[in-house]
């Protein structure tokens, strides 16, 4: 299916709206749509979260933690030595055809790959925040492999930001069973995995995982959280990944147009401050949800998950 088209008059309407700081849905340039965040929907997964933006974009992330062998091959010995002491994170993003006609058949393959690489690069690098060494059980042999699978269920623009928000929440929700390591003395190391459901650990460093802010340049201004029509008007995109300390963890420019150096600086600064406040509100949301669940559990009330019924 060919990409959607936009008429010149619609294009102009959006351009003028952005210029006078009021967009088609009434938002200002730097306003996000309402964010709905919910964790623990998929019981088969070690952790899961769903993030919905407004009435549109919907991403479900499921995380499975499985035992595996550490990666032993590296370019040189130093790299190999570091890798032998680490667990791994494997990312995969899929755009389901239920989200949009564009994703049917093989239509989404390139896009999926692009999104997967983007997520993978952020989470596996030193800026990812996760303590990968903690995921290693026996150096050089066994480690936990964290499989992160994101599915885009509904599409109304700004997929990448949503994926990052959902991933962060799912990592928070992930439970890794406790392991007990026993040294047999003769160099043999054995370990047991606790089968007690109450004995689990959170992935260390989940709170240091950055979020992504996509800034869309329209005319001489920039906006965040674009709708599909606004994405079509966008001349150039800038992706800024920011962690909770307000440090920029990555930048990527895409799209056909170009950005002035002075505007670029401006956009990075906007992304940075927005990202930091976004992380703060996301953390509050997660905390509130957990408190709610704990309270209900203490009172032995039924814990109801909103699921898809929250949508409308």
């Amino acid at each position: 299916m060919p990409p959607a088209l936009i008429s010149p008059s619609e294009n102009d309407y959006i351009l003028r709206g952005v210029d006078s700081n009021i967009r088609a849905d009434g938002r200002g340039r730097l306003d996000y749509r309402q964010i709905i965040l919910e964790t623990g929907l998929i019981t088969q997964a070690s952790g899961s979260a769903r993030c919905r933006l407004g009435e549109g974009t919907d991403v479900l992330v499921g995380i499975k933690v499985e035992l595996g062998a550490v990666e032993l091959d590296g370019a040189d010995e130093d790299v190999a030595a570091i890798k032998a002491k680490r667990g791994r994170v494997v990312c995969n993003v899929e755009c389901s055809p239920i989200a949009s006609q564009q994703f049917a058949g093989r239509g989404a393959d390139d896009f999926n790959n692009e999104l997967t690489q983007m997520l993978d690069r952020v989470l596996n690098g030193p800026q990812g925040g996760l303590n990968l060494e903690k995921l290693c059980i026996i150096p050089g042999q066994q480690c936990w492999i964290v499989y992160i699978d994101a599915i885009v269920l509904d599409y109304a623009g700004n997929i990448l930001d949503t994926i990052f928000m959902a991933t962060r929440a799912a990592l928070y929700n992930t439970k890794i069973p406790k392991t007990i390591i026993q040294d047999r003395g003769d160099g043999e190391i054995e370990f047991d995995i606790s089968d007690d459901e109450e004995e689990w650990e959170r992935i260390e460093g989940w709170d240091k995982v950055p979020v992504a802010i996509t800034l869309n340049k329209i005319g001489s201004r920039h906006i965040v959280d674009a709708t599909p029509l606004e994405e079509l008007t966008t001349e150039a995109k800038l992706l800024v990944t920011v962690n909770k300390d307000g440090k920029v963890c990555g930048l990527q420019k895409s799209g056909g147009g170009s950005i002035n150096p002075s505007l670029l600086n401006d956009m990075v600064q906007t992304g940075r401050s927005l990202g930091q406040s976004l992380i703060q509100s996301l953390d509050e949301m997660l905390q509130r949800e957990e408190n709610d669940i704990n309270l209900k559990r203490a009172r032995k009330e039924r814990i109801e998950k909103l699921g898809f019924f929250a949508a409308i």
Partner: protein, 244 residues
């Protein structure tokens, strides 16, 4: 039966606490997605599925054009985290393609395709969590999504599975039960009790067949009431919204 697994407890209850003739807890809601012409979310126990319907619209390729009716296209995807073990499945996985073709064949005679000659109807199904009964949940979800899209159908199509544990017919098997007992999946048109799909992939004594079949048909009828209620409530909701 070769398996020594205790599928039925001493009180005559199954592993998940249900009686022989009890369906799993079922939740459903039409109109959940923003882009699709029709959509539905459905939960049967721990099996969860989303369906989206696009069309009828112009066929994407010329080869798919049928001159006297609409072409129906079904695509099923399974989330990598939906099963006990993480597994990424390609879209050309044989088992998934087989289920997709079963769904397609079930709906071809029910949807009034002759009204939309030379066009195409797409049904996309996404399984989010799996605990047995893939075929039945796919059919039920698709029915709800097609109704939501406003595509004319002759009747609802409701599907349900039944099996036989220790000579006792049981309704709506979960994954543990379906991997240890013979399973029969039936899709039925509730208005005139006509069967549009029948699948069984293991051994079942012919004397038992009648009972299991009746059990499954009864399940289909129950599912029909749930689906019908969801459709009516959704329409009432729509009316309320549009009257304001």
């Amino acid at each position: 039966m070769s398996s020594r697994l205790e599928l039925i407890g001493p009180q005559g209850l199954r592993t998940d606490g249900r009686r022989f003739n009890e369906l799993r807890n079922m939740n459903c809601k039409p109109s959940v997605l923003s882009q699709a012409d029709g959509s539905a979310y459905i939960e049967q126990g721990n099996t969860k599925c989303l369906a989206a319907v696009y069309g009828p619209r112009e066929a994407r390729t010329k080869a798919q054009v049928l001159h006297n009716r609409a072409n129906i296209n079904v695509e099923i995807s399974l989330a990598p985290f939906s099963m006990e073990e993480r597994k990424k499945r390609s879209k050309s996985d044989k088992r998934i393609l087989e289920i997709a073709s079963a769904v397609k064949q079930t709906f071809e005679p029910i949807i009034m395709t002759e009204l939309y000659a030379r066009s195409q109807i797409d049904i996309y199904l996404q399984i989010l969590q799996f605990d047995g009964g893939t075929v039945q949940i796919c059919i039920n979800a698709a029915t709800l999504a097609i109704i939501d899209a406003g595509i004319p159908m002759k009747d609802y199509v409701c599907a349900c599975s039944a099996g036989c544990i220790d000579d006792e017919p049981v309704l709506d098997l979960n994954h543990l039960e379906e991997s240890n007992t013979p399973e029969l999946t039936v899709a039925l048109l509730p208005k005139n009790d006509k069967i549009t799909l029948l699948q069984m992939e293991s051994r079942l004594h012919i004397d038992k067949f009648q009972q299991v079949m009746e059990m499954a048909a009864k399940g289909c009828k129950e599912i029909h009431t749930v689906l019908d209620k969801a459709v009516r409530e959704n329409i009432k909701d729509l009316l309320k919204k549009s009257s304001i």
